[in-house]
């Protein structure tokens, strides 16, 4: 596999050049925070950005996405028939993605692309995406990636791993996709063996500042955790807003909505769209039946669902790790400081 060394200036140019063959996403500052933005002429990438406010999940799974479109005008021959809407699956690259965020796509994949069903939009976009990740030399204080199966230099979700060596970036292709992307980046030189050794040495020393326990989650009884006594107080301060779920790289829940509007210039000729939007288990509407019955009508039930899904249901269902990559975004985004690190402790160390 190829490895290249770029000066920081050359790297900036190389990423810019990558736009010729890829749609490129980069972290860029907007207001006080960084967000992953499509790299256009009016965007200034900032590869020093530690953690973007929102995860890069929207690069594969946009907050709102048109699924189908249709005419509601009965005089049209194709009225009420769902039509595919044009999609662009040309190659895209998410540059500067952090290893934890990239790993989140591995965890989410089983939801959207499994042996029973394949979500065409998520799966096609995922396949067309190359993750060019930036290792974390200095993880934030809220990070706990290495407790949950990822790490500051975790390669699992990445196609290229980039080390920030202070004066230069060392980029290492990890697979075919990565090779291809790296080949499309001009201006670097082949990395020397010493570069790679230095990078590996540096990476080996980095640890996420926060730690969470996970060893007992699998063996806990599901119903014991469900009935545990800590949920009420934990949930008491929750606003039931969706900030945590929207910021989270692994929260995949969505809603499907039909909306219609008047065709331009014509008042009664209706056109419609079927759109899917991010949804949140924090919202009462998420589970409300048309009859008015709601299996998760109480705040505490919804808070429990979020954490149980991440730290128990997913763990049990797929017999793997947690549905959490330790990015710490929810800890930062939560307006009432509900801290998932504490929930890990409560759930892992729970005894009846």
């Amino acid at each position: 596999m190829t490895s290249k060394r770029f000066t920081k200036e050359a790297w900036g140019k190389a990423v810019e050049g990558l736009r010729e063959s890829y749609k490129v996403w980069v972290p860029a500052k907007e207001g006080a925070h960084h967000f992953f933005k499509e790299y256009t002429d009016d965007i200034t990438p900032d590869f020093e950005a530690t953690k973007t406010r929102m995860s890069p999940k929207h690069t594969v799974f946009p907050q709102s996405e048109r699924m189908f479109e249709y005419s509601l005008e009965s005089s049209d021959a194709d009225a009420n028939i769902m039509k595919d809407t044009p999609k662009d699956y040309s190659p895209q690259a998410v540059v500067g993605v952090r290893p934890c965020d990239a790993y989140s796509f591995n965890l989410v994949k089983i939801n959207f692309d499994n042996k029973e069903y394949r979500d065409p939009w998520w799966a096609n976009r995922y396949e067309s995406t190359t993750f060019i990740g930036m290792g974390c030399n200095e993880p934030c204080s809220t990070c706990f990636c290495d407790s949950v199966g990822s790490g500051p230099f975790d390669e699992k979700g990445l196609d290229v791993l980039v080390y920030d060596m202070g004066d230069a970036y060392v980029a290492k292709a990890l697979n075919e996709k990565g090779e291809k992307a790296l080949a499309a980046m001009n201006g670097g030189q082949d990395a020397a063996e010493a570069d790679l050794t230095a990078a590996a040495d540096m990476a080996a020393k980095v640890e996420a500042p926060s730690k969470v326990p996970t060893d007992k989650l699998r063996s806990q009884k599901l119903n014991d955790l469900y009935d545990a006594d800590f949920w009420d107080e934990l949930a008491s301060g929750c606003l039931n807003c969706g900030a945590c779920t929207f910021a989270c790289p692994t929260c995949w829940c969505f809603d499907i909505q039909d909306e219609s509007w008047n065709r331009e210039g014509e008042v009664r000729k209706r056109q419609g769209d079927r759109i899917r939007n991010w949804d949140s288990c924090m919202f009462p509407l998420f589970t409300l039946h048309a009859s008015g019955h709601n299996p998760r009508g109480l705040k505490v039930q919804r808070v429990r669902q979020r954490f149980m899904h991440k730290l128990k249901y997913y763990v049990d269902k797929y017999d793997g790790g947690t549905l959490c990559v330790g990015c710490g975004r929810c800890v930062e985004a939560c307006p009432v400081n509900i801290d998932i690190r504490q929930v890990f402790e409560l759930m892992n160390d729970f005894s009846k």
Binding site: A32, R53, S236, G237, C241, F246, E259, Q342
Partner: protein, 318 residues
């Protein structure tokens, strides 16, 4: 602050122990700098975990709605929170008899974003309030800031620092500025053309992610079914489309006309830093100008839009 914290702990413990209240609503110290964790405790043994400082900007009156009618509730209330309590009583959401209000005279809450900006967005590991100073520490830096320079914007324009309704009060009342506040953003908006205002509105609210934190943080947003969630008819779409987002924000703000105490909770909780008070403040100022009305100042007073005078302005009606 230490004195407030100690008194809150002791009061909550006493009230829960002697059965004056069934639960007590307060804050715990957060796990991160500049954010605390609102909590409802029912166990006197946990009173010791309560805490108070300048990062208690969430409006605790939020937790008063939807509770049982016979539940006795203890709550810490700053000026704005006490006004919200008055409103909730007037709107029949809770009764005064249910409540034991521990008043907290307030010198304004700290604006996290402002402190973060002041240290150039380096990661902050701790912020300590020492008198009028804020000691901000992070990896490799320690800076001292003036507390007064980093208050929530609503606290700067606040004229009601002391609780208007309380059973006990923490410490002594603080002085309240007499002069009328200046709302710079409203002044600027008024000077703009319709088109510029529209563009500003659109750009400001465009980054909304529809998480509804602003709505959910507001103690006055307690409708069992919010208009956003209504399906028959559906008033507003749920995608991140601009028109839907703007419709949501416009109507959310309007539902607070004459009911907003400008506690700033909505703006504080926004994960993408939208200045949502831009809309509610306009309504607050017009309520003041047209009807000489500020929400929740007088116990028992009906909300603005639930009352009228024969002489109300009508110069806009043909």
């Amino acid at each position: 602050m230490k004195q407030y914290t100690d008194t809150i702990k002791a009061t909550a413990k006493r009230l829960l122990e002697d059965g004056t209240v069934d639960c007590f609503i307060g804050f715990r110290k957060g796990t991160m700098p500049m954010i605390n964790h609102p909590v409802v405790i029912t166990d006197a043994a946990k009173a010791d975990t309560l805490y108070w400082d300048g990062n208690c900007g969430n409006n605790l009156a939020l937790y008063l709605t939807g509770r049982k009618a016979d539940e006795k509730i203890g709550i810490v209330a700053t000026g704005c929170v006490s006004r919200n309590i008055n409103l909730l009583i007037a709107e029949g959401q809770v009764t005064r008899e249910q409540l034991y209000i521990v008043g907290a005279p307030c010198k304004g809450m700290i604006e996290r974003r402002s402190v973060e900006a002041a240290v150039g967005h380096r990661e902050i590991l701790s912020v300590n309030e020492e008198g009028e100073k804020l000691i901000v520490e992070g990896k490799g830096f320690k800076e001292e800031l003036n507390r007064a320079d980093h208050l929530q914007r609503n606290c700067v324009t606040c004229r009601h620092h002391n609780p208007v309704e309380h059973n006990d009060i923490l410490g002594s009342e603080v002085s309240e500025p007499a002069e009328a506040p200046v709302f710079t953003d409203l002044e600027e908006a008024a000077a703009k053309s319709d088109e510029d205002r529209w563009n500003f509105f659109q750009q400001t609210f465009e980054s909304c992610i529809r998480c509804y934190a602003c709505r959910n943080a507001c103690p006055m947003c307690y409708c069992p079914t919010c208009f956003v969630d209504e399906a028959k008819p559906q008033w507003v779409g749920k995608s991140s489309d601009k028109v839907d987002t703007m419709t949501f924000h416009f109507l959310r703000a309007f539902h607070l006309a004459g009911r907003c105490t400008d506690c700033g909770a909505c703006e504080r909780v926004c994960p993408v830093d939208i200045p949502v008070r831009y809309l509610t403040n306009k309504l607050n100022r017009d309520a003041q100008e047209f009807y000489d009305y500020s929400a929740g100042l007088v116990a028992g007073e009906r909300p603005l839009l639930d009352q009228y005078k024969l002489t109300d302005i009508e110069d806009f009606i043909k």
